[in-house]
Symmetry: C2
Subunit: 437 residues, 2 copies
């Protein structure tokens, strides 16, 4: 009302999605959904806003700086979700009686973190989680890896490696070294090797465990020439065969049998930083972009919902970093713009034919084709220009004369050829013939 | 860590979506997306959080109670979006140079309003908007109505009526009555007739305009026996033929020509409460549930982004109230649960066959079938129970003996018939034969 113009700016770390980018994201999201569903996974959704106490735990007095937390108009202490794991734990506890275990769900949704935006991080981003809860078996562990592999293939990524390990074996090894009470710190330190380099981590580990044991730990984390050799090494170092080494052995034999072994690397240096993992852990790297970091990570946890229910619920799951993956695909030029485009546009030569144009369009759509109508009688050049910008390959041209004669002209906007005298009843068929393969 | 259990409760007015409901929502969302795209509409996305000033306008000192507004960790005054229209206006102004006009976009996303939850309203809900901006023509107006009609059909709604009018004609009529300066109040009062009843609105209008003119206004808003008669009436009352009545005439003739006239009612009582509409306005009612209110509404506005740019951008658009529509469909029993389900489950008879099972599953998936693997060797009864809960129609049963013989048994879980001796290579074909139509 004031006549003052407000600058249409958005918050730092947030993004508008132009149609090309949103189209791509939607296309990839559909492929992921279809993949998850082909494995029997079902979708759920949870609120974006929840009680801060529920998301952050009791005594969360010192707010995590990364969390968007505030008092709502009813003075409730609320937070926006910062991941999909905590809400899932809360969801499983709340709906145990309505769910059947094992429960396999996926959830693709936005989360918010007030991160430092300087390293190209976003404060609003999409997560894509899939988990199996209620069962602790090699079969479930393997299925999550299989879904990761299949998902990557389905979205056009061929060259990647899933780095896999088992936390329990490293912990057994630490017990052998008498370091069981430094497990959390050691696992966190090992997790940082790729980021900080071995030398720096050796210093860090030496402080925790002494220089000799620090060297032993680094040696443990090195993959050998083959997955088999690595498994033998860490099995021996961790005190011989154990349920944990047996679990890894079965997972690798499944991978062998299903032909995905080439995508798997047993890498004992993978620990994941987070405390709640208890079994296998994994990260996924694009071969051409190792510096991008993991695009799909997760692991087994044996007590998902302990904050909300006394019942122990084991699970295994993984999360695709959709934004990071899209950025990677774009860098590799593997992302063709997926802006939806109509197959045909009906040009506007005579506004008295508006109803006729919409009728033609409707028939084309009934024939399974995407069709636009140009909504104003502008110069044909301008209309062609619009069609070109939207990558529409074919145009229907029809003025009053053609309408009276019961025909239309079809124009191929790529090679500029025209096809005259087409009857409306033949239009769907002719369009299909002329569409680029 | 404290051992205290936190109650897994959620905020009033917010919802968890169980797989059946989320599956249904996703299915309907895909159908809508496909419909919009068949008309050449493209998807966009905008941030959930924006500067409060940008969403609420300058001098928004007295916060709208319905808006979730707070200071973020950087002390920025931010709000969660409360609709998709304001962010769209901001988006168009921000990206004018990157967009081609006319621009046709859709946006399906959540919005938040701290509404009174007592009337079954949600504080977090899904909106689904589609708009054409950059053109002011009958063709564009008609296309929005056509999309509304087509969308309803695509999601299985057959019996509905789109009530349509043109604000300009009511305004012309008010000018005839000498009430042009009471237009905003009169339009808002007329908008409330369905909710408050004619008697009450007559009192309200009498206060504004005197009893005689109030009666004239009510008479104006009454639809006649046919759309044609109604159009003639309001054209005459508003001072004779005008660009506005001509616009309605073309829209109705397009509807006639494309066979959608039966879904349209010219209802001069439709005004929409909001100030920004300037042309046609419309609401959609399900025939069987008139009390549900409009499930799809909108209209033409001639200055979408005036808050953010001096450039005048006309547009026309509509919004589907997805949650209300879903509630209506559920009440009409028109909503079949759309929880995704696999076609086959591989039963777990022997954990040594884990890799073999996953291999069979992988082959079935490559054959285009959804397939689950049961992840533990539990009693078969328990496994069948799981399959039944997930509505999986077929099971593959294979123990070590079958594996050695190179065959599996396929069991129809509906009629309990078993088919033995099937070779893995024949499995996809046999499953397809046995699937329920």
């Amino acid at each position: 009302m004031s006549g003052d113009i407000i600058e249409p700016k958005i918050l730092k770390g947030f993004r508008d999605f132009l149609p090309e980018d949103e189209g791509t994201r939607k296309k990839i999201q559909r492929r992921l959904e279809d993949t998850f569903e082909s494995f029997g996974f079902v979708p759920i959704d949870t609120p974006v806003l929840e009680y801060a106490e529920v998301l952050l735990g009791k005594g969360g007095g010192e707010t995590d700086k990364q969390v968007y937390r505030f008092l709502d108009n009813g003075k409730r202490d609320v937070s926006m979700r910062f991941d999909l794991t905590v809400p899932f734990a809360r969801y499983v506890a709340a709906h145990l009686s309505e769910l059947y275990l094992p429960f396999k769900r996926y959830h693709i949704a936005k989360v918010w973190r007030g991160e430092n935006t300087q390293r190209g991080r976003y404060r609003e981003f999409m997560q894509c989680d899939f988990d199996i809860v209620g069962v602790d078996s090699a079969s479930a562990d393997f299925e999550i890896l299989d879904i990761m592999r299949t998902s990557m293939r389905q979205i056009g990524v061929e060259d990647f490696t899933i780095h896999l390990s088992h936390r329990g074996l490293l912990n057994r090894f630490l017990r052998v070294l008498g370091l069981e009470n430094r497990s959390v710190e050691v696992l966190r330190a090992v997790d940082k090797i790729p980021k900080m380099g071995k030398d720096e981590i050796l210093v860090l580990l030496s402080d925790l465990a002494g220089r000799e044991k620090a060297k032993d730990i680094l040696a443990f984390t090195e993959p050998e020439k083959t997955n088999g050799e690595t498994l033998t090494k860490i099995e021996n170092l961790s005190g011989g065969p154990s349920p944990e080494s047996e679990r890894l052995r079965i997972v690798f034999s499944c991978a062998e049998e299903t032909g995905m072994i080439g995508d798997l690397l047993l890498n004992p240096g993978i620990t994941r930083g987070l405390d709640y993992y208890t079994g296998i852990v994994f990260e996924t790297f694009l071969t051409a972009l190792p510096g991008l970091g993991s695009v799909c990570s997760g692991g087994r946890y044996n007590n998902l919902a302990s904050l909300y229910t006394p019942r122990e619920i084991p699970g295994v799951g993984s999360s695709i970093g959709l934004d990071r993956l899209l950025a990677g695909l774009e860098e590799l030029d593997k992302l063709r713009s997926a802006q939806p485009q109509a197959h045909v546009i009906i040009m506007n030569l005579d506004e008295n034919l508006t109803g006729y144009y919409h009728n033609l369009a409707s028939e084309l759509r009934k024939g399974g084709l995407g069709c636009e109508v140009y909504h104003e009688k502008k110069k044909l050049g301008q209309q062609f220009n619009y069609a070109e910008k939207k990558h529409i390959p074919l145009a229907v041209i029809c003025g009053e004369e053609e309408r009276s004669a019961g025909v239309v002209t079809l124009k191929n906007l790529v090679d500029r050829q025209s096809y005259e005298g087409i009857k409306p009843g033949e239009l769907v068929g002719r369009v299909r013939e002329l569409l680029p393969a």
